[in-house]
Amino acid sequence: MNSPLVAGVPATGVEPPAPAARPTEWKGARMQAGIRRRYAAERRFRLLGLGSVLLSAGFLLFLLLTMLGNGLRGFTQTELRLPIDFAASSIMLDPATLATPAGQAALNTADIEGATAAAADVAFGAGGARLLSDGGWLRVRDAIAADPTILTRKAEVWVPAATGIDLAAKGKASPEDEAAYARLNRAGATKTGLNLAFLTSADSTDPTLVGIWGALKGSLLTMAVTILLAFPIGVLSALYLEEYAPRNRWTDLIEVSINNLAAVPSIIFGLLGLAVFLNFMDMPRSAPIVGGLTLALMTMPVIVIAGRNAIKSVPPSIRDAALGIGASRVQVVFHHVLPLALPGILTGTIIGMARALGETAPLLMIGMRAFIATPPGGITEPATVLPVQIFLWSDEVSRGFVEKTSAAIIVLLVFLMLMNGIAIYLRNRFERRW
């Protein structure tokens, strides 16, 4: 605070009223120098404070910009136009039978991969197959399944390019990939567009084929288990501790455990999940239900603490009025206190859930780091979650994974910002000051 008292009075020099003693020489050179020195120190200190705020904010900006810079390219993908002469290819399929189950089985066993590679060699010269993504032939298979009649003629299929070509299209790759891309580009055989597959498919070993839907679905299932357990338990214990609990040793014990649980490192919860849920109760490894249980134990104390604060802020007059007109103690709480405290509780819950959504370490402990190539179908099937997927991709050596990891981080951050935005909205819209 810049108080005029500090700055003004000594500087303007109000003379002391008693000249008998030696007066302080306000105007003296020594005094003025001292004051200047003190003001300089004041400015330095202030700048230091501003500097540290800006440095912290700058770091956040740097982090977000780095992720955006790396990650936005992860949402796009380069594709090559591949002309295939199906009639002359090694695919021995009859278009008429494809609709039948037998035809589907034949499609699954046909050598489409070989035919695609051969077509690429014809179209792009020797070694052309290497320009395509390893899983590019799957696109050809999908094209056949969608329109069996192309089997009888020549057709053009857009196929994902190999990682090197993809990176060359986005500007940084080895010289030979750059050259190959330039050649293809002159031939008009490339396009770079939005990679919808990234949002709809699951993990893969090939960076051009990976997607986050598998991990996202795992995250959603895990969060569903977490909130179904943590929210009711958290709210009920907050109500008990705040409204009913007698002051005794047991209540103290409960309070101490909740406060400590809120501060226990998350990895300890992972050890608990491993020892109790997996080894003792023999639940399935890598499953969202175990992850959800573990995260629920971690989130519950956060909800209890937020809930107690929200309940505490409901004024006692509300309780007294309800009791006065004959409500029972349970009715007072469930009809009056809880509805009034609910916005605060929900805000705390969303913040706790956001923390659980970004949590990685405990889920590594219970085996949610497996390679899962299909999205999980239920809460007992092996799954992985978004943060763990980011961790797994960050370990991959292939350079194509860098942009995919950053893209996954962007998706995770968008989810977290949405949740926190909702929490802030709830707080501003519904919270009442009594």
């Binding site: 500090v6 912290s56 009920l236 409960i254 608990l272 370490a361 402990m365 943060p387 961790f391």
Partner: protein
């Protein structure tokens, strides 16, 4: 019938019970005699609880014993005679049969599984029918019993409220159970570890290489479990480097935002700083490993430290420090705000500048609170996992060089427990011993910190 369908069936029966009981209780009121003790709703809930709760308890118990019953019946069938003796192979076949029956396994690997499948499916069907019938009967019986008790002066509300209070109590006991679970599981596994490795060696040994022998004659594979290098690495990264970043930046940010910044600036800057605490740690870890660590290594090489590692303690510590800034800042904010206004006014009235007031009056007065906050921050930093797993190394070095690679307790826990593991080796048990140490240290730090903060608050109240 699957578990979920059964669950919904029971809940549906409960809904029916609620509706009928409520309708009946509503007629008490219209019958015009004496006023009913409880509102119709409570009668409904009373009957619904009687219908649902016993059936759910039965389902929970049944769910845990049913697989054993089914497998027992399948093993009694003639097809089970060809099963191998108990061991790995037998349990593999049995789990394959279970998978086939549930449809999670497409085709059997072992022919015996196919032979056993019909017997298993028959037994499974048999027990599923028994379970469903019993659950439905229990729900109906419970509901019917409760329904017969409904009269105008029946105290349904009291009963229901008693159940509600019971539920509240049980919910709050879960916190104690969790704490007990943590302590028991850590302690139990650690004791098994200390039966193999002496606690003295673990706590004071300086050599850490947890690889246990795969073959008996392997060289250099005895496994050394001296955890001092891990403790040092944890303290070096979490308590020294991270705090060297977080304390000055956090404290100065708090001072600037509370003492100098305009309210409008403060309103914007504070949430922005708090975003730093909300970014998931895996993002920080990726950032540290991908951006900060290579840059630091280049810097170290350019100033002549050729031994600089790309997994340096400095990279992990710096990023962790940034993560902790908002934490330190908000603790400092609270404690500075708790210093009485009169002390500040007194100092300003004596002619001190704002910065002199802050440095000589506010911060010394708020020091206990700030120290408490720093202790809490340290406890959070040493328990932090993903940043160090991704950015710090695995080499257990006892070094003061911030550009060298050190490893931490949490990194090693992750390292020991992921990948192929057999659960009884000293290697995996060591992770629980490390977890126990981490738990105890963070607990102690938290207790001390809270005590310091509390005592200091009392001093000014």
């Amino acid at each position: 019938m699957s578990g979920f369908a059964l669950l919904f069936l029971v809940l549906g029966l409960g809904l029916v019970a609620w509706g009928t009981a409520r309708a009946r209780a509503a007629r008490f009121a219209s019958a015009g005699s004496a006023r009913a003790h409880s509102r119709p709703n409570y009668h409904g809930w009373y009957v619904a609880l009687w219908a649902i709760v016993p059936a759910l308890i039965f389902l929970a118990i049944w769910g845990s014993i049913e697989p054993g019953l089914v497998m027992g019946a399948a093993l009694d069938s003639p097809a089970a005679a060809s099963l191998p003796m108990p061991g790995m192979e037998r349990s593999a076949i049995l789990s394959e049969v279970r998978g086939l029956a549930e449809g999670t396994v497409a085709a059997a690997f072992n022919p015996i599984s196919n032979a056993l499948l019909p017997a298993y499916q028959a037994a499974s069907m048999h027990y599923a029918i028994i379970g469903t019938l019993a659950a439905v009967l229990l729900a109906l019986a419970g509901g019917a019993y409760a329904f017969t008790r409904l009269t105008p002066d029946f105290r349904a509300r009291t009963r229901v409220e008693r159940v509600v209070m019971g539920a509240l109590l049980v919910a709050s006991l879960i916190a104690i159970l969790t704490t007990l679970g943590i302590v028991a599981s850590l302690l139990f596994e650690s004791l098994r570890f200390f039966a193999k490795v002496s606690p003295i060696e673990f706590l004071f040994g300086t050599s850490w290489s947890p690889q246990t022998a795969i073959r008996a004659d392997q060289v250099g594979s005895s496994g050394a479990f001296g955890a001092v290098p891990l403790f040092w690495g944890t303290i070096f990264i979490g308590a020294i480097i991270a705090m060297a970043v977080a304390i000055p930046l956090g404290l100065m940010s708090a001072i600037y935002l509370t003492q100098y910044a305009k309210p409008s600036t403060r309103k914007w800057m504070k949430p922005i700083l708090e975003i730093l605490a909300g970014v998931p740690t895996v993002v920080y870890g990726y950032f540290a490993a991908l951006t900060i660590a290579p840059a630091l290594r280049q810097f170290a090489v350019s100033i002549g430290i050729s031994s600089a590692s790309s997994e340096s303690a400095l990279a992990a510590g710096l990023v962790m420090g940034v993560m902790i800034i908002p934490f330190v800042s908000s603790m400092a904010d609270d404690s500075i705000a708790a210093v009485p206004q009169s002390m500040r006014d007194g100092s300003l009235a004596m002619g001190a500048t704002t910065s002199e007031t802050i440095r000589k009056v506010l911060v010394p007065a708020a020091l206990p609170g700030v120290v408490g906050g720093v202790l809490l921050a340290v406890s959070r930093a040493i328990g932090e996992t993903m940043i160090v797993v991704m950015a710090a190394g695995l080499a257990a070095n006892l070094t003061l060089n911030p550009f060298a690679s050190v490893t931490t307790v949490t990194t090693q826990i992750v390292q020991l427990l992921t990948g192929d593991q057999e659960f009884d080796s000293a290697k995996t048990l060591a992770a629980f011993a490390l977890g126990l140490v981490l738990f105890l240290v963070t607990l102690a730090l938290n207790i001390v910190a809270l005590r310091v903060v509390k005592k200091y608050r009392e001093a000014y109240e």
